[in-house]
Amino acid sequence: MALPEKLVREFDELVKKYPEKRAGLIPALHRCQEELGGWISPQTLEDLASYFGLEPVEVYGVASFYPMFRLKPAGKHVVSVCHNISCELRGATQLMEHVCKVTGAKPYGTSADGKFTVWPVECQGACANAPMFDLDGVYHEDLTPEKAEKILGGLR
């Protein structure tokens, strides 16, 4: 298998920003995760390695270093709940409990129906609007269990 033509064309443009091609690797990993099923599969690692002229293990070494890259499939929706200090001071634990209840997923786990993955994350830079979670790439801030239920319940 190889990368879809659309991504190859995109990456050919992307790497022009840099004097060395490899600098495009992390942005490319993001795009692959977005476009190819929400995670970085072993096949994607190989395809990216071949595109960038690297060994698959080098790409794996990079992908596994960065918390945003998922090396296992996730649920349809990913809820990243901040559990760092500023959020914790304003109810992140209660939020986490409630998110788990509403989604049926445990922290670092996926619900049985495959709809939700709940992922505790470190500080997301929303400290003045705590607590928060990121749902599929969009920040939801100043949350209460009720607000969270409204946001997530609509996706059930």
Binding site: K17, Y18, P19, E20, R22, A23, G24, L25, I26, P27, L29, H30, F52, G61, V62, F65, Y66, P67, M68, F69, S80, H83, N84, I85, S86, E88, L89, R90, T93, Q94, M96, E97, C100, K106, P107, Y108, P120, V121, E122, C123, Q124, G125, A126, C127, A128, N129, A130, D134, G137, V138, Y139
Partner: protein, 439 residues
């Protein structure tokens, strides 16, 4: 608190402040025009001189004088290698959420600052390294670059002059260590964010081995104002050693958490009580961090200190990113430190053994103290571990960043930590959900 001049957040209060049209209406790109095509165009050396006169210090946490940093770039005649500006928008220090406001609401201010900084340092391109989670920041700044390019403000022959400069966005992927300047450069090159030993410093060996300067978003955002109004204007505001206004993000147990623009010289008490509406629920402040979780904790009774680079030293702490985190009098210090220690354990890159092992032990020991499984000598062990991790024993300062809050917690709240161990439970109640960590 007296009235004071503001500039950092003024435009963010205007509708559609992120667009070129509004930015131009509000005087945008006038500084760039002054430098390049004004009645008396400025030389790169003149721009650097204004930065030096302004006495501005970096807003990313270390507080290094920006003008001086810019002079570290080698003479372009003697060293004609390509050179770069890297803008640190990896904002990941717990409690810090200020650069995001600028990027989301006033992205052209950052682009204009980047262009002037590149001109001053004769850099051919700026790379803005944005943390991956800040998707809106990325979109807004990228859109600003695109608009500016279409208007002849980015790219070749800017404003019809022979100055050419590229501004590129680059997305990180969630690693705190990439906010360290050499970790950032490694990451931008497509590698793991492993900080590099220094020297060589970035000005000699930076991105792709070329001369590079790394500056924080808020620092670069100040550049057009300093160029337009003059370095002396900037240096007239603030306290000795800390000039200008700064963005203070205040979070935790206050009535009105937020990102506020303040002049150096205000006290922490003024910020908490007059700006942020006081400690929430009418409670008292037990302790606070002046600038993110990497600086030393300060006691609640010490709120009268001025929030600037030098004054906080008298309380054994530092300004960091000016991200104040406030704890009310019902907060468990064991729980606070359990979270903070977990964070550094999660974020250590693993290169240096003191940090890799030390952060892991601190996390495990604070966890067992907080959950009532502390051992008799745990508090002493924590102290000795932290002393083995810092100062300056590792390639970068992450190890110090874990050790410093730890030592402050032991110094200020030893009895409370010992009480958790003695009672085999945390005497201060709070909700918990147990789950194993994932790295």
């Amino acid at each position: 608190m007296n009235k004071f001049e503001t500039w950092l957040l003024d435009r963010t209060k205007v509708a559609n402040s992120h667009t070129l049209a509004v930015y131009k209406q509000l005087g945008g790109y006038h500084a760039l025009a002054k430098v390049l095509t004004g009645a008396k165009p400025m030389t790169p050396a003149e721009v650097i001189n204004e930065m030096k006169l302004s006495e501005i210090r970096g807003r990313g946490g270390a507080g290094f004088p920006t003008g001086m940093k810019w002079t570290f770039m080698p003479d372009p005649v003697k060293d004609p290698r390509p050179r770069y500006l890297a803008i640190n928008a990896d904002e990941s220090e717990p409690g810090t959420c200020k650069d995001r406001v600028l990027m989301e609401k006033d992205p052209h201010g950052l682009v204009e600052g980047a262009l002037i900084a590149c001109y001053a340092m004769r850099a051919q391109a700026a790379y803005i390294y944005v943390r991956g989670e800040y998707r809106l920041s990325y979109q807004r700044v990228q859109a600003a670059i695109d608009e500016a390019r279409a208007a002849g403000l980015v790219g070749k022959n800017i404003l019809g002059t022979d100055f050419s400069c590229e501004v590129h966005m680059h997305k990180g992927a969630g690693a705190y260590i990439c906010g360290e300047e050499t970790g950032l450069m490694e990451s931008l090159e497509g590698k793991r964010g492993h900080p590099r030993p220094k020297p060589p410093f970035p000005a000699a060996f930076g991105l792709w081995g070329q001369p590079t300067t790394v500056n924080n978003v808020e620092t670069i955002f100040n550049v057009p104002f300093i160029v337009l109004r003059g370095g002396a204007w900037h240096a007239s505001i603030g306290t000795k050693g800390s000039k200008g206004n700064f963005l203070c993000g205040i979070s935790g147990h206050v009535e009105k958490p937020g990102v506020y623009e303040l002049p150096f010289g205000v006290t922490a008490r003024e910020i908490v009580e007059q700006v942020a509406g006081g400690v929430w629920k009418g409670r008292k402040c037990k302790a606070w961090f002046p600038g993110g979780s990497s600086c030393a904790m300060v006691k609640g009774e010490d709120l009268d200190v001025v929030l600037d680079h030098d004054s906080l030293k008298t309380k054994g702490s530092s300004l960091g990113t000016a991200a104040m985190i406030i704890f009310d009098d019902q907060t468990s210090i064991a729980r606070v430190m359990e979270i903070i220690a977990r964070f550094y354990d999660h974020e250590s890159c693993g290169q240096c053994s003191q940090c890799r092992e030390g952060t892991q032990w601190l996390s495990q020991i604070f966890h067992r103290i907080a959950t009532g499984h502390g051992q008799e000598d745990d508090v002493a062990t924590i102290e000795s571990l932290a002393k083995g991790m810092a100062p300056g024993k590792t390639i970068c300062a992450l190890s110090d960043a874990a050790a410093i809050p730890t030592l402050s917690a032991v110094r200020l709240f030893k009895d409370e930590l010992l009480e958790c161990v003695r009672q085999k439970r945390d005497p201060i109640p709070y909700p918990r959900v147990e789950y194993a960590g994932a790295h």
